[in-house]
Symmetry: C3
Subunit: 208 residues, 3 copies
């Protein structure tokens, strides 16, 4: 890690990078599940492991916060950022569990598209977080935040379109209930990614 | 506006009045949509404009707060009041979108009644807010808060009655899913109006 | 109550014990309703009375907090603990109302099991709360917190199992909608019990 006069600050950023990697793992694996159109027992356990690792990193950040006098930005923002990132992995895990409980056994084009949006959003979140390390990188962080907003918007439109279509054409109410819940969960994942960039944006404003 | 020794205070109240007017616009237009029993593309765009204007006023209040040393009441209360008022317009907009996505094409008596409650609640919220300008008006503010509570209660009973009836008599589960969500959204609108008066009541208590 | 140098502290614990008793009343009565498999008008009123009594105790704690300079633990924790306990009774009451509105008229084995978990959780919450009075009792409080976590876990698995089964086997979508909502409400009751023990755990950590 090299020599630094602000070792505690560097550690927070390293831990956020670790969270960003958990998000990437969860998003990439969720895309795989969406492509398969099914979520096995083993898939749920694997996603649970990712969720658990992310939990550990979140606890490390909270513990680090309790031990630190100097923090790279406001204490509440450090906490909220860690918790919102944790929420992203939590909801991806719960989406996986939902697919498993509902015994989904068919590839759904809209879900693959949601998974693609989630995948892209986590890439941008990683960039936004690493951009926080230095004010020189605030441009990339801004761009990343805008991209996540754009993806959330597209996911919202996709949700309305696909649920509207199910409501109009589906004859099978129970199938509709299952997919409505899965689509809403997928869209909420993007909402939480947007919550993350809102925290990041407010950190940038305070630093600016 | 006349001469005032407390210009910053007057501005906050003016901005709350502006929010109250956005609420009135949204509620009046929602009643129109409920009466028609349908929500066109253009209706959604028009409600989106109202929601966007209210967003702008909310941002003005937040920015005003960041620039002000003296505020007419606690900073957190100013922020929370602005955000709860914004939430009222947000949920009316999302109700409109839901009607559009679900291609509702029939006038529903219960929805017209909900729209009437929402309409009345926003009138009382306007009175409660303008009453905040002076302790002399605390009586009207109290009365307005009680009226909003009463309307929320009635909306809650209406929701139980109408959803209970659908559950009992409906043979069409998909139609039931649509209307259940719309009725719940309408009732939640009154819940958020009640959240607004709870903030207002706690401001009154602190001033009292 | 005996003589104490810290009368105000003793009062908070007495009020939490009162809340714990309201929780017990609500849980025991809910188990009765689940066993009957039906919730009459009178049952709803009776549960409403319990909810109202708990509200009163919650208000007493909030008022007590506003009058106290010395508190047994952090002010925010006192408030949050009181509110989360209140939320437990609120959701049990809303579950009761839901059963009434949906005109449930059949005993459901899974619901009886949920009611049993809720019953046990409120017993452990009572122990956890009374354990807070003295650091000497932190072991019992820890054990109680772990037991509530275990019950929440079991309720979560039960929810997935029973909703998964309904989704697979039910032909009646409207019946499924009713029971899904009731099972989710029952599981959320345990989630809120877990929120309570999370507050209690964080109080223990700060005292430790």
């Amino acid at each position: 890690m090299g020599f630094s006069l602000l070792p505690k600050e560097v550690k927070f950023f390293d831990m956020y990078d670790a969270q960003a990697q958990h998000l990437r793992k969860a998003a990439v694996f969720f895309k795989e599940i969406a492509e398969k159109g099914a979520c096995s027992d083993i898939d749920v356990l694997k996603m649970h492991d990712i969720e658990h690792e992310c939990d550990n990193t979140t606890h490390d950040i909270i513990n680090g916060l309790n031990r630190s006098f100097i923090t790279p930005f406001d204490r509440e923002d450090i906490l909220q950022l860690a918790q919102e990132l944790d929420d992203v992995v939590d909801i991806i895990y719960s989406l996986t569990k939902r697919m498993h409980v509902y015994k989904i056994k068919e590839k759904n084009k809209a879900l693959v598209q949601f998974a693609e949006y989630i995948d892209q959003a986590t890439i941008w979140l990683g960039k936004a977080l690493s951009g926080l390390r230095s004010m020189k990188n605030s441009k990339i962080t801004h761009e990343a935040c805008m991209e996540v907003n754009r993806l959330e918007n597209m996911a919202d439109q996709l949700k309305d379109a696909v649920i509207g279509e199910y409501m109009e054409k589906s004859k099978d109410a129970i199938k509709l209930i299952k997919w409505k819940e899965i689509f809403e969960g997928a869209e909420t994942t993007l909402d939480i990614c947007e919550d993350v960039v809102n925290v990041i944006s407010s950190i940038l404003v305070k630093q600016g």
